[in-house]
Symmetry: C2
Subunit: 354 residues, 2 copies
DNA sequence: TTGTAGGCGTTATCAG
DNA sequence: CTGATAACGCCTACAA
């Protein structure tokens, strides 16, 4: 129930051609014009051509609000995400690309919402957007674990897909990658290289994916009987600086690790920076691995061993699910977990013998 | 004249409460309900309270399409930008933040469009969005110099602000930073440090800002009688890899520069990487400067001397201009050029004497 | 302070 | 294949 706070002087009568104008000019009824322009069947080729020509001549454009009122659709799908931390990221970019790639040819556009904006606090904003018909459906990207709206997602009856990790509300539809498997495959790789002292730089608590990756690391170590002294479990914030700080602590500790796994690539870059500062050679003295496979991971020097996450495909998949729910007027449900792949590059190597 | 290609089964009757329902429940007319909810004057406190309570109880939400049809506004402002290269960037993130900061309290939401998508080719998409009333106004961010739609912007009669450099169409409203002054201040700084052999790594041709920065560099050199051998003018693509490649060429050339100015920070980072590979010390052997002042520019090691560009403020300013045009039903015009500031950090130092 | 009538521009329905 | 009529849900204008 939020209404316009800013009063904009309404420009009530648009000075544009309407369908009635077209109809008059063509000597047809509005209905025939509508059908012709929408490309429906049941209009003679001649009529259609006439209408199209007139539309071009009058510079006619459909008034979407009028159409929306009738069809009860807005033509927008919303992408909601915590702007802080995400909106400038490669992850977000890939989401947009994948999403709009799947939307190509649908006349559906993208609206953008910040889950961290105040209006999201009450957890009803998503439903409101939908009930107001500002959007026909929603993609929620990488929500924070403590976002209050998550718990109520299932009860909103909104066409909605979450990209990220599993959620408190089991009926919610979500698409994720296998974070757990990803971390374990890196660890396995390091163990195969002979490493026994492996440290982990985790991501921010509020991100569900970060929690999952951290848990996977601990599970792996327990399973493989690797000791994890408390300081081998650093907390980062998914930024380079965070990785650098964490690594500094690790590398200066009495028993430094021979390998560091960062919960994302950005932090892995930070780890590499701090190794440089301390004149520790990678991968000779220290192995470093990340998670995400950013475009720069391959370009850096040394190139980064990491886990590739198919973000583009995840977004595409989400879009398809959303589209299908719209077509069938149903609320999507179920999980999709996409495969990740370990990409071995130059930042990891055999455990140094010392 | 593009119409829905994908046919979505319309769900014509929304099963939601309408204003009439509210009116009936309250024993009032639709008008009174409308007034009460919109917060207009001329409604008794009791009535208003009653209406609000009923709205909450019925879970009522305004149908935006109906409202839009009346007011002839969509409630969306579009941000159009080349997704490739921009959407994952810090620049874009700052634009969004600044923009939505200025929009706070206005009930206006953001729609996102890709200027590189095929539909933009014909140069009429912007106008179409507006004429269809999908958006009330547009922010065009960092358009490509060769974008065909730029030439026609002035004639579109669309509330539109461009963030970027000057444009072919002089009547267009645009907001930029003083790219020229920025580059010159870096160069001045380097000259003051004794540098005479300064090279430049330029940005991609298609970006108007890149062209402006490059020109400023050349102007400065001419003015200060600095020699610019052809290879001192490298072409980059605003990525780290581009900077690295360009720097490799420069540093391995017979007469390498003592200072390198990159047209953006990302490329400056690449320059630093390649210096590292060649074991060239910064700033002792080589000074490096960038442009943008990315958050990481301060955190890196060495921290980067660069030009701070007030992107957030530019976006805020654009938003204000756009808002005002909407309020006054007019097309914005004029330029705003924001100040930039040189930020001196550790990557630049005195010219080595050799 | 509240109500009535009518229209915004499009599409569904049903008839011709 | 085409047309008349009636929505869609809200808001403006004017009247009470």
């Amino acid at each position: 129930m939020s209404f316009t706070k800013l009063e904009l002087r309404p420009e009530r009568r648009a000075s544009r051609a309407t369908m009635s104008d077209l109809a008059r000019v063509c000597g047809l009824s509005k209905m025939t014009v509508s059908r012709a322009l929408a490309g429906r069947s049941g209009v003679s080729a001649v009529t259609r051509k006439k209408v199209r020509a007139a539309a071009k001549k009058l510079n006619y454009e459909l008034h979407s609000a009028a159409q929306n009122l009738n069809t009860n659709r807005s033509g927008f799908i919303g992408i909601a995400t915590p702007w802080e931390g995400l909106i400038g990221s490669n992850y977000f970019a890939e989401i947009c690309r994948g999403f709009s790639h799947a939307m190509k040819g649908t006349a559906i556009d993208v609206a953008l919402f910040d889950t961290l904006s105040e209006s999201f606090n009450d957890g009803t904003k998503l439903a409101k957007l939908y009930r107001q018909r500002k959007v026909d459906g929603l993609l929620v990207v990488a929500p924070h674990a403590n976002d209050s709206f998550l718990k109520t997602l299932g009860s909103l009856h909104v066409p909605l897909v979450v990209v990220g990790e599993s959620l408190p509300d089991p009926s919610t539809c979500w698409v994720s990658c296998d974070n757990s498997e990803g971390v374990k495959s890196v660890c396995k790789h390091l163990v195969d290289l002979g490493h026994k002292r492996i440290a982990f730089v985790g991501g921010p608590k509020e991100l569900t994916s970060a929690a999952r990756r951290r848990k996977a690391f601990l599970d792996f170590c327990r399973q493989h009987k690797l000791a994890v002294p408390p300081h081998y479990l650093q907390m980062g914030d998914y930024t380079m600086l965070g990785g650098r700080t964490a690594a500094l602590t690790l590398l200066k500790s009495p028993e430094p690790p021979t390998a560091i796994v960062a919960a994302n690539d950005l932090m892995a870059f930070g780890v590499i920076e701090s190794a440089r500062e301390l004149d520790i050679k990678i991968p000779n003295d220290l192995s470093v691995a990340g998670f995400d496979d950013l475009p720069t991971a391959a370009e850096r020097c040394p190139s980064l061993t990491t886990v590739h996450q198919p973000v583009f495909e995840m977004a595409e998949q989400s879009a398809r699910i959303l589209l299908q729910s719209l077509e069938n007027n149903e609320i999507p449900s179920g999980h999709v977990k996409m495969k990740v792949t370990l990409v071995i590059r130059d930042s990891t190597g055999p455990c140094p013998v010392n």
